[in-house]
């Protein structure tokens, strides 16, 4: 003991840590540390800023789609136009026009009336009809209903169409603006939450277009994808990881699974088109085929992630189970898989979130159908999906679709965030500690 301490005191390195060269070296080391930190902070700052810009611009251009301008009108359900026993065949178009013309007795010419009728959304007709169908006693009476205005008036009310440019460069004439202002002065114009965005299916009219059809299509597609990729993915991973003999064939399969994860998704779309539609003759545009194609895309991810989680299960648990006389299959089913399950679930959810945003392969199998009603959607019926809906709205010329596109992107991002949150929750909730 004394030997050691005396060496330390009298050894050749005495004072070594205080020399100028050593001080310089120290300063250089600190400077390098600082540079590293600044670089990392810069990278993170840039990423956060870009994300902020993305979200900011989406919210800025999309928030208007969550509001809808409506007017309260008094509709007289004329028994001459609507027979109580055949409400669905009633002439609601005339009822709407009458209710509107009643507010503007000064508008008499046919041309002006035609223009005035364009103030209300064509969807107003269906809203009144559905209301009367639900309440048949209204026939012969009057009812006050809130109906959406047509897209140009909606945009005017939201300030998207400017009032201070010459009439010739405006979507709406001075007369039309006067009508809306007149209704507004009488307190008949309201701006409310646009439930249509979530409850309606697609429509040619932006104020009536919603995401319900796309969300249903996406849900069915993901359901098929989930039902296919979970059992197939886990079975493949378990076999490869636990049972497969380690030979050239299995390593070839492993390499190819890793490669498949990097294949562009449009290639899977082509494969789906050729095999599922062309060879198997499955229906085009159907969620069933969409789910099958998406499961091709998620499978490699799930297989790779499942194998990683299986590998991470401590060998001591396998040994404990084996030593007590559990068979390989029992070790797997009773111990390893339950412990790996949170990881597998996380991987699956992240894979599904990836599949939810996938566009190109769905485009190839024609999953961009125009779906005006949620009722028509089935596993084998034509459908669309959220990203496809965004794509087709972005392609539409009406002003209202600009905001609706951004709103749809926000909804899609919302789903992705929710799915990832579930994945994180599962991981933290079920992650077990083991020795």
């Amino acid at each position: 003991m004394s030997d050691v301490s005396s060496t330390l005191r009298t050894g050749p390195a005495t004072g070594h840590w205080r020399t100028a060269a050593q001080q310089r070296r120290l300063r250089r080391r600190y400077a390098a540390d600082r540079r590293m930190q600044i670089l990392g902070l810069g990278a993170i700052g840039l990423a956060v800023a870009l994300l902020g810009i993305l979200f900011g611009s989406l919210v800025y251009s999309g928030y208007l789609a969550f509001a809808q301008t409506r007017v309260v009108l008094e509709f007289r359900i004329d028994p001459a136009l609507v027979q109580p026993d055949r409400i669905q065949d009633g002439n609601f178009r005339s009822i709407i026009r009458q209710a509107l013309f009643q507010q503007f007795p000064e508008v008499t010419s046919r041309r002006q009336q035609t223009e005035l009728a364009k103030l209300l959304s064509p969807g107003a007709e269906w809203i009144v009809r559905d209301h009367v169908q639900a309440n048949p006693e209204l026939v012969g009476r009057t009812v006050n209903l809130l109906v959406p205005v047509a897209d140009p008036y909606d945009q005017l009310s939201k300030g998207v169409i400017p009032r201070d440019v010459p009439e010739s460069q405006r979507r709406l004439g001075d007369e039309a603006i006067g009508w809306l202002d007149s209704l507004d002065r009488r307190g008949l114009v309201r701006t409310t939450f646009a439930w249509e965005l979530f409850l309606n299916a697609d429509s040619r009219f932006p104020e009536m277009a919603g995401l319900a059809g796309a969300m249903t299509g996406s849900f069915l597609t993901l359901l098929v994808c989930l039902l296919l990729s979970i059992p197939l993915g886990i079975a493949a991973a378990v076999y490869l990881e636990e049972f497969a003999p380690k030979n050239r064939l299995t390593s070839l399969i492993e390499v190819n699974i890793n490669n498949l994860a990097a294949v562009p998704s449009i290639v899977f779309g082509l494969l789906g088109l050729a095999v599922f539609l062309g060879f198997l003759g499955l229906p085009r545009s159907a969620p069933l085929v969409g789910g099958m194609v998406l499961s091709l895309i998620t499978l490699p991810t799930i297989v790779i992630a499942t194998r990683a989680t299986l590998k991470a299960v401590p060998p001591s648990i396998r040994e404990a189970a084996l030593a007590i006389g559990a068979s390989k299959h029992q070790v797997m089913m009773h111990h390893v898989l339950p412990m790996a399950m949170p990881g597998i679930m996380t991987a699956t959810i992240i894979g599904l979130a990836h599949a939810l945003g996938e566009t190109a392969p769905l485009l190839l199998i024609g999953m961009n159908a125009f779906i005006p009603s949620v009722d028509s959607i089935g596993l084998l019926e034509p459908a669309t999906a959220l990203p496809m809906q965004i794509y087709s709205w972005a392609d539409s010329p009406e002003r209202g679709f600009v905001a609706r596109t951004s709103a749809a992107i926000l909804v899609l991002l919302g789903f992705l965030v929710a799915m990832n949150a579930v994945a994180i929750y599962l991981r933290q909730r079920f992650e077990r500690t083991w020795s």
């Binding site: 001591s316 040994e319 084996l322 030593a323 007590i324």
Partner: protein, 289 residues
């Protein structure tokens, strides 16, 4: 890595054997006749173990008595754990491993291809170096073995097995009120006793212990040693230990391994007071290891 190194040095040992070194003479030595007559429960003859091309164990022949504690001692990488894992065929799980020679339990060859390895492991329990309870409840940890082997016909019977196993492992008093708690919530020593309870729940004949106390503090170690001493009345216990004091305290028979070979075996008192082999003497007196 350790195994590889041992096998390398082992082949050098082989040359020494051929040149007639004293170590070689002890290799094939069978149990000394001194002391009470030994009834061998586990009998090994000319066992060689290879991991790939490396020989980890060379020509080991040993008789292990029933109802006694046999300690395997020796420096790291000497093959004592390898030999232990041959007795319940845990080496089978390593794809490159190869075992030759003969190991019998009650005269039955355990490497017979017709023998079911799952049943063998039910007869030969094992306790590992690091406590490894399943991440399930204490009850489930013990009940798992009897359940997969169908040892209990109904729930009360299973409860009985769990209780008596915990009792025998000296754990029942501490966990009686919290059988539903996770096995991993116990302290290290309690976890190890839980692992012993789990092993004896399937009524094994032989219990293998691979350094069962090396991850425990001295108090927990003392409890496990007491437990082993009680258990030896009913079981054939084979334990690997790095602690020569532990071997001296707990075991009745001791076998000294070095570089993949069995150097010397005999009654513990003889080995520790009067080793016949120079290497054994050097090791137990702490000159190397």
């Amino acid at each position: 890595m350790v195994v590889t190194g041992a096998a390398d040095e082992g082949s050098r040992m082989n040359e020494q054997v051929r040149t007639g070194d004293i170590a070689g003479a002890a290799v094939s030595a069978l149990p000394r006749g001194a002391g009470p007559a030994v009834t061998a429960k586990v009998r090994a003859r000319h066992v060689d173990v290879f991991y790939g091309d490396k020989q980890a164990l060379k020509d080991v022949s040993v008789d292990i008595p029933a109802r006694a504690v046999t300690a395997f001692i020796g420096p790291s990488g000497c093959g004592k754990s390898t030999f232990l894992r041959c007795i319940n065929r845990m080496n089978d799980t390593i794809p490159t491993s190869r075992v030759s020679g003969q190991i019998t339990i009650d005269g039955e060859d355990i490497y017979d291809p017709r023998l079911d390895v799952v049943q063998l492991r039910a007869r030969v329990g094992m306790v590992f170096q690091k406590p490894n309870p399943f991440p399930k409840s204490i009850y489930e940890n013990v009940a798992y073995g009897p359940r997969i082997h169908g040892l209990a016909r109904n729930k009360p019977e299973l409860d009985g097995i769990v209780m008596s196993s915990l009792e025998k492992a000296g754990l029942l008093k501490e966990v009686r009120d919290r059988l539903g708690d996770s096995g991993t919530s116990l302290s290290g020593g309690q976890q190890q006793r839980l692992c012993i309870a789990r092993a004896i729940a399937v009524s094994p004949e032989v219990i293998l212990m691979d350094e069962p106390c090396s991850a425990l503090d001295p108090i927990a170690t003392a409890r496990i040693e007491e437990l082993i001493d009680e258990l030896r009345e009913n079981y054939c216990i084979i334990m690997v230990t790095h602690s020569m004091q532990q071997a001296a305290r707990v075991s009745q028979r001791t076998a000294f391994f070095h570089l993949g070979e069995l150097i010397e075996q005999g009654d513990t008192t003889d080995i520790f007071t009067n080793p016949r082999n120079r290497q054994t003497q050097d090791y137990i007196t702490g000159r190397y290891g």
